[in-house]
């Protein structure tokens, strides 16, 4: 589904990603771990198309298409979803209207007839229950005045609504208490199928207790330096990132 080859990214003359390789297949959950400032969020931004980088080279192929050539909104319409680390407030725009607008765009892009008002509301309520979103939250403006936990729940709700093929969860666990974490993780697990894939970006192992990954990648110094199963996350948690320096798969 996603093939990243030799990805180099720099911003303001500083190289952040230095030859990253990653391969994600349908049905898989990949965790990307690593200390702060190693380029985890940059990876999420580059996949989704955020245009803030000076120089991007390498290859990102998604469903056989060259992602670099696609506009941000087209990548989204093709099924790439980012759960933001810091969800943005859009005052005065209700989540209902926001999702309606987004869903209609995606349907039109795919040549499908957008949902009618009634169909939309039914779908909206189904998804709301799936991620245990309170009714009250749905009528409020997008992220406006939301607590950290509410924002993250709202991201997962949007993910449920848009039903992406590739979801990237950027530090979705940060700022969540244990109950909220469980709700968010349950939502993600319910949305998991053999058709879609998830990339979980985190620097704690905690979230991976709930969303169990098939692969754990350690991002360090702009490259993936070690890949393993879920046990790698425990090892990291126990031994710290310093340990990785001596046990990398590749030369640092």
């Amino acid at each position: 589904m996603l093939e990243i080859k030799d990805l180099h990214v720099s911003i303001q003359g500083k190289e952040i990603l230095k030859g990253l390789n990653l391969s994600v297949k349908p049905g898989e959950v990949h965790a990307i771990m690593g200390p702060n400032g190693t380029g985890k969020s940059t990876l999420a931004n580059v996949i989704t198309g955020r245009d803030i980088y000076d120089n991007i080279s390498g290859e990102i192929i998604y469903k056989g298409k060259d992602l670099m050539e696609m506009a941000i909104e087209d990548r989204a319409r093709e099924g790439i979803f980012l759960s933001f680390q810091y969800p943005v407030e859009i005052p005065g725009v209700s989540i209902t209207n926001f999702m309606r607008a987004a869903l209609d765009e995606i349907y039109l892009y795919k040549g499908k007839k957008p949902l009618s008002g009634g169909e939309f509301l039914k779908y909206f309520n189904e998804k709301k229950q799936l991620v245990e979103m309170t009714a009250n939250l749905a009528n409020r403006s997008v992220n406006e005045g939301f607590s950290g936990g509410e924002k993250k729940k709202n991201e997962i709700f949007q993910m449920a609504m848009l039903n992406p093929d590739l979801a990237i969860l950027d530090e979705t666990d940060s700022g969540l208490d244990i109950d909220a974490l469980r709700i968010v993780a349950n939502g993600v697990n319910k949305l998991r199928t053999s058709e879609n894939a998830t990339i979980v970006i985190t620097h704690y192992q905690r979230l991976l207790d709930y969303i169990v990954p098939d692969f754990v990648h350690v991002l360090y110094g702009g490259k993936i330096v070690k890949t393993g199963g879920k046990e790698l996350a425990f090892e990291l948690e126990e031994k710290g990132y310093e340990w990785i320096k001596d046990h990398a798969d590749i030369e640092l």
Binding site: G49, A76, V88, I90, F98, A101, A102
Partner: protein, 481 residues
């Protein structure tokens, strides 16, 4: 909840979709302005002597006045002798039914989405259609008459209800008030008149639709709304004009009188032709709108969505004379390309415990300039008066300007006056967030701007709110990129 997607779909359609010109046979007079022209207009309208006198006094006053220059506007000099002051679609002496109206005219209004055929009105909005200088058709007059409501063209009111017109004309905006007010008082040609009798709640929205069609003409309408004790009316006003390279002058007056316990809600969606992307053409919109809360517990509420005109100079105001009376002003003003707007409100507190609210949302894009100018005045007898003002500016791009000029003048120590102001931009983060959900740049901006203006849009009657949301998005097309 309005269907924002459908609205957004229409965003990409066209720049200014009301820019067409209708081929209507028009009767015009010679260009230029002098006492003879004022007399000619009055004669054409078969007016009583007192009204001619009123016009002439106004004209003489106007000649002594100077064009105001205090607004934050660059106004090219206007040659008042190069304007036609009267243009009217040719018609039969009296119009008894719609069949007698020029089909081209009906077609014009159909194109604008306004059906003049009563049975086709789904929402039950009574319309007075004013094209160039003359009211061509007022719908539902008979239905409204059953309630004792008078809703007709201004000219008709002068003929049929001269006592009411004479009593109230100029009682809120005297002809001496300001330059453009004096000009209007001298040459106004038509407009709408509305009287709601005591205790009557008007059963439908009343609306005036203004259309400029003829070239080189000025449009000077006059609207007078009188709400007698305990009555209620909601009034809508819409405006469009053809796309032309030269500028056209529009100088209107709206006067509202609310007696004891009466409430008037006045909503405007102003979409005069704004000029092209290089700033050529467009309407100069110099309008005086003022309401008098004459009696105790009366309320006047102005809501405006201003997207059109090359230059807008407009300050819908409330004089809160009656004790416990309430004045409200909700505004969204959008400027793009080379448009300039200097708009806001005045709240004059005279009575005790009078309350006013001002919510202004300015949106500037392109190379435009958008100013809020507001005055809150608390007189010495206005014990317990309260005002809350909120002025927000949203900037799109880095070549436009937003300005705020609040004036507060309090002569009573018990008054509470609050003023809040913010200036913001659409952030890249917001745009990226919307795009990541599948919306393209323009739709994202449309959505964000509509959210920003929602507080004001919520004040509009339903039929207008949808129209206004589309307009906001269309007006900002191509403003980022």
């Amino acid at each position: 909840m309005s269907d924002s997607n459908q609205i957004l779909d229409e965003v990409t359609q066209s720049d200014y979709k009301y820019g067409f010109v209708s081929n209507i046979e028009t009767e015009t007079i010679e260009k230029g302005l002098n006492e003879d022209v004022v007399r000619l207009i009055s004669m054409k309208k078969n007016e009583p002597e007192w009204l001619l006198e009123y016009r002439l006094k106004a004209f003489r006053k106007w000649q002594q006045m100077e064009m105001p220059d205090w607004a934050h506007l660059k106004i090219p000099s206007i040659d008042f002798q190069d304007i036609i002051y009267y243009a009217a679609p040719k018609k039969k002496e009296t119009l008894n039914s719609l069949e007698e109206v020029d089909p081209e005219l009906i077609d014009t209004f159909n194109k604008l989405g306004i059906s003049l055929e009563e049975q086709k009105r789904l929402t039950g909005v009574a319309v007075d259609a004013v094209i160039d200088s003359v009211s061509v058709k007022t719908t539902f007059t008979a239905t409204l008459a059953k309630y004792g409501i008078i809703f007709c063209s201004f000219s008709e009111a002068v003929q049929e209800h001269p006592e009411l017109v004479r009593k109230y004309l100029g009682s809120v905006v005297p002809y001496t008030d300001n330059y453009f007010g004096a000009l209007n008082s001298a040459v106004f040609s038509d407009g709408s008149f509305c009287y709601i009798p005591k205790g009557v709640r008007c059963p439908m929205e009343l609306s005036t639709y203004f259309r400029i069609n003829a070239a080189n003409t000025g449009q000077f309408e006059r609207t007078l709304i009188v709400a007698d004790e305990g009555s209620y009316v909601s009034y809508l006003e819409g405006c469009t004009a053809p796309q032309r390279d030269e500028n056209q002058l529009h100088a209107a007056i709206v006067e509202i009188i609310a007696h004891k316990d009466a409430e008037v809600k006045y909503s405007t969606v102003q979409n005069w032709y704004p000029g092209d992307k290089e700033g050529r053409g467009g309407i100069y919109n110099f309008v005086t709108k003022r309401g008098l809360c004459e009696g105790a517990n009366s309320k006047i509420s102005w809501t405006q969505v201003e997207t059109g005109s090359a230059i807008t100079w407009k300050y819908p105001s409330c004089v809160l004379k009656g004790d416990n009376s309430v004045g409200e002003f909700y505004s969204v003003a959008v400027t793009n390309n080379f448009q300039q707007a200097d708009t806001g409100s005045k709240m004059i507190h005279l009575g005790k415990n009078t309350r006013s609210t001002i919510v202004s949302k300015g949106i500037s894009a392109g190379r435009s300039h958008n100013s809020y100018r507001g005055q809150v005045k608390i007189n010495k007898n206005a014990t317990g008066a309260r005002n809350f003002s909120q002025c927000d500016s949203l900037l799109l791009g880095d070549r436009c300007g937003a300005h705020t000029f609040p004036y507060i003048d309090t002569k009573n120590a018990s008054a509470i006056v609050e003023h809040e102001a913010t200036t913001s931009r659409i952030s890249d983060d917001q745009l990226f967030y919307c795009q990541q959900r599948g919306l393209d740049t323009e739709k994202s901006i449309g959505l964000i701007v509509n959210g920003y203006a929602r507080e004001v849009l919520n004040q509009l009657p339903m039929e207008f709110a949808v129209e206004a949301q589309k307009l906001l998005a269309i007006s900002l097309e191509g403003s980022v990129g």
